[in-house]
Every structure is written in structure tokens, then in C-alpha cells.
Symmetry: C2
């Protein structure tokens, strides 16, 4: 048999593994991401947890059917929920994270050496275990001696804590599943009471494009409790609509007027999204977003 | 036969029309949009043209397989490519639009009464015809007496025009298909020569998230020609990655320093995205975007 007898497919079917993750935002629009490998699927006491390895975004943590983080873009959300309040308040020493089981917010907070103590309250121990295993670069600070980890419902913890915090970060999943209670007015009220007189709270507050009604309600609840409530925006490619909102709620400091450029420069933070221009620009809202507030 | 004999499906198959438009950005990530109805499909001399009616975004114009506009979000792109240069230059009287066959940029330009003449050069007459038929609210100003419409390749037109413009807007499709020549250095150079001494050019410059290499090349080309080149960003939900970049290239005026707040207020523009805060904030770039420039 010479070479001419060989039977070879001219165009081999190279792509027989053709698996896509699709996240529908409202049954009418979705983001589709091609998957290399499914790494983990499990059920905790609270929710379904999946880890998928994707072609473009690297590994992805999916809670309750929604992308929480991907290796490629998690820096955006975590930098923006952390550094915006940290450069608004002049001296955060005692901070509380509610949720944030992947560890990204904790990693960013730890970059600020002024912080003496961080309490993190995560309802679902399994999320932290899975994150430590599959996202070691994100979940890298849970063993830091400054960190006190509490496995409890944040809404219950905040009712009875006797500590006072300079900063509370609500790094929750969406208001379905285990995070529903973290969007209520009474929860925000307990947070207000647990803050020092110049304390700040930040929270992720969903997509102002797809979740208009939820955004309206969240800001109404926040404004009933806090004297200063400002929305800021970041672009997160793997979140619904990519336009993501955060609330900065404050008892005293204004995030733009009280921003300290020198302190920012001195800390010499390594960030991929956040910078001093973004700190101010992110509070400028398009008209269709302003209308929600 | 009494009612108990009736055979009725308990859960009727209500959703048997289940058609999705999927636009893959890099073979690994895509946006999927549920379609109500396919309204038009045709081939012009230059490209395939489709109009689909979608559940969430309304009617969508698709050129060469990419979404150009949707009824729900076209305002963002058109406001941003038009009003940012219009409030940078103090007195635009003679403007040139290259591309922009859907008419949205023209509609926004016409809102500025100072403009005396607008020349629009569109290579594909069919795009304008289809837009007039299916998007009458977007393509509404083609018959305005201030407008001179030329059906020609913009790259050829600009070589031989003897007019001088205050503003050139390059409202092109992506650098595949008929728009390739609108991203070259020699094209930008001809544009420079066709501008008055204080003229401004704006152009859409692709996604800084998905098209990093293209963005780098475009800005290198622009910076070789114009003394002032600044990137600005807007969030367009139906464009790849939703983060969209524009270049403001100027011979004299700086878009932030020369922004005239009073002129903006006096014109009392009705916009859904653009406002005076956004004008300044859109030039603040995340670190991962700055690195491209």
C-alpha cells in the first residue's frame, strides 16, 4: 500500500467536543461561553455549585446557575467593590465582608496595610472550599492572620454583632437563592447600626440594564437608611449586560469630594481596572441609569 | 361528550417558535438573542443585509453578520459618536459622515442647529433603503435639506474632496468586508487634510476587550497622523463585549479641557445616555485599556 491509497479526511472533525455554557438573563438574551472541561459540580446545603473551565475566560465559578467569577475578568468586580470605598474612607481599620466566598474581595482588601482586622461572614463553607481548590489565586488570603472567618447567614450575624466597623462590603450573589435577605431594608438598617459614625457600606447592586426594577427597589431601601447613597458603575464582561452597578453608602464621606489622590499614589496599588480617574468617573451615570434613582 | 372527556395538554408547548440569533465574537464567546420574526434578508453589491425582530432589543439591523443597531440600544452608540465631538469643537458648521447608513449619527448631528451642511458618504445604497423602511425613527433625516448624500466608497471620496470640514465622523462597520479601507493610515491622512485647522475626527474603534490587537493598530495609525488622539468608552449592550471604544482625534481642541458646559446646557439636548458628566468620564480608561495605547 503506497501513500496514495491512504484514506484521510480532508477536513477532520477537530471540534467534536463542542460544549457551551449559556446564561440567559431574561429568557430572551444570553451570554454563551465555550467550555473546555467541566471540573466540578456539587450541591451544598444552600445551592448548586459548578466549576467549568472555559476557552476564553479560564475557570468559572457558577453559583445557583449564575457566573460569580471567571479567572479572566474577576479583577474588575473585586477591585471596584473594594478600592472605591477604601479610597473614600481615610482610615479603615476594621472591615466586614458579607458573602464573598470566592475570596477576591478579601484579597483586594488585604492589599491595604492600614487594615487591622477583617471579619468575613460566608453562609456557605462549601463555596470557600471549592474556591480554595480551583481558584487558588483568588482565594489566597483566607489564612491571613488578620482574617476572622465566620460561617453564618450574614443577615443573622449583623443582627447580633457587637463590633463596630469602618467598612462593610456586601459581596453577595443575586437576590435569588441564599442571598435574598441581603437586599432587604431591615438588613441595611442593621448594617448601618454596625458601622462607626463615619462608616461606609458598599454592595453589588445588579445590572441597571436588565434589572431595572430590582435596582430601583435596592436604592430606595438604601436611601431610606443612609444619608449618602451613590451608585457607581463598572464593566464586567461576564455579568448580565456587562454593565454592573455598585452602591456606595456613607454616613459622612463623599466618594468623589473626599477622594485622596495622594494616599492613592503612595499606596502604589497594582490594579488592572481601578485607578484614580476611574474612581471619579465611575460615579458619572448615563441618563437611562440616572432615571432609576 | 362532557367536559371530562376533553383531551387537553396539561402543559401546552407554547414556545414552539424558538429561534435565536447568536453572534460569536471569537469562536469562544457569543451573545444570543431570541428572535420573534425575520423581516428581511438580502444581498447588496457589497454585503449581506438582514433585519430581525427580536424579543428584547426590538428590530435589529445586521450587516455582514454583525449587529449594527437595535431599536433598544442604538441611542448609546449614536449619541456618543456625535455629541462628544460636537461639544468639543465650539462651532461645527460643515460636517462629513463616512458610513452611518442607518441614519442614527445623522439624526443626532441634526439636533445641533449650528450645523449648516452635512455630507454623508455611504458606499451601500441598499443599507439606507433598508434602514428607511425598517427603522424610520433612526433613518429620519436623510431628506433634511441640510444633508447631501453621496453613494461612494468613503476612502475614494476623501481623496478627492475639495471641501474642508470642521468634523468628520467615521461611522463604519468592523474592519472586515466593505469597511476595511476605513481603518488605514493613508485614509486617516486624507481625512486630516480634509479637516479645517481646528477640525476634529471621531471614529468607532472596536472593542478593547475582544479586539486588543486591532485597537492597538488603529491607535498607532491615528497617532501617526493627529496631534491629539484620545480614546473614549461607552457601554453598548449588543456590541461584542459591550465595552466599545471611540477615538477623538483633534488638531486643536482637547475634549475635556475645551468642553463648554454652558453651551451644553443651553442646547437642552434630549439624550438617553450622553450628559455633561459622561462627556468627561468617558475619557477615563481602566488600566487594562490604557495599556493598549
Amino acid at each position: 500500500m503506497d501513500n496514495n491509497d491512504k484514506v484521510i479526511l480532508e477536513e477532520p472533525v477537530s471540534d467534536f467536543w463542542n460544549v457551551w455554557y449559556s446564561e440567559l438573563h431574561n429568557q430572551e438574551v444570553g451570554l454563551s461561553i465555550k467550555i473546555k472541561k467541566m471540573l466540578y459540580s456539587g450541591e451544598s446545603e444552600f445551592q448548586r455549585i459548578d466549576v467549568l473551565d472555559s476557552c476564553y475566560f479560564g475557570k468559572m465559578l457558577i453559583l445557583y446557575g449564575s457566573i460569580m467569577i471567571t479567572e479572566k475578568d474577576e479583577f474588575i468586580y473585586h477591585e471596584m467593590i473594594t478600592h472605591v470605598p477604601m479610597f473614600t474612607h481615610p482610615d479603615v481599620r476594621n472591615a466586614l465582608i458579607i458573602g464573598g466566598g470566592d475570596g477576591g474581595t478579601l484579597r483586594e482588601l488585604i492589599k491595604h496595610q492600614s487594615i487591622k482586622k477583617i471579619t468575613q461572614v460566608e453562609i456557605d463553607k462549601k463555596v470557600i472550599e471549592v474556591s480554595k481548590k480551583y481558584f487558588p489565586e483568588v482565594a489566597k488570603e483566607f489564612d491571613n492572620p488578620k482574617v476572622k472567618l465566620v460561617y453564618e447567614d450574614g443577615a443573622e450575624f449583623i443582627k447580633k454583632t457587637e463590633e463596630k466597623y469602618d467598612l462593610i462590603i456586601i459581596d453577595s450573589s443575586d437576590p435569588v437563592g441564599p442571598a435574598i435577605s441581603l437586599f432587604s431594608k431591615s438588613f441595611y438598617s442593621y448594617c448601618f447600626n454596625a458601622l462607626n459614625d463615619d462608616g461606609i457600606l458598599t454592595a453589588q447592586t445588579e445590572s441597571p440594564f436588565f434589572n431595572k426594577n430590582e435596582v430601583r427597589k435596592i436604592y430606595k431601601n438604601l436611601k431610606d437608611i443612609f444619608p449618602i447613597v451613590k451608585m457607581y458603575l463598572a464593566y464586567v464582561p461576564t455579568y448580565p449586560s456587562s454593565l454592573w452597578s455598585f452602591a456606595l453608602c456613607s454616613k459622612k464621606y463623599d466618594p468623589v469630594e473626599d477622594f485622596d489622590n495622594n494616599r492613592y499614589k503612595n499606596l502604589n496599588l497594582k490594579t488592572n481596572y481601578y485607578n484614580c480617574d476611574i474612581h471619579k468617573a465611575c460615579f458619572s451615570l448615563p441618563n437611562f441609569v440616572k432615571e432609576l434613582l
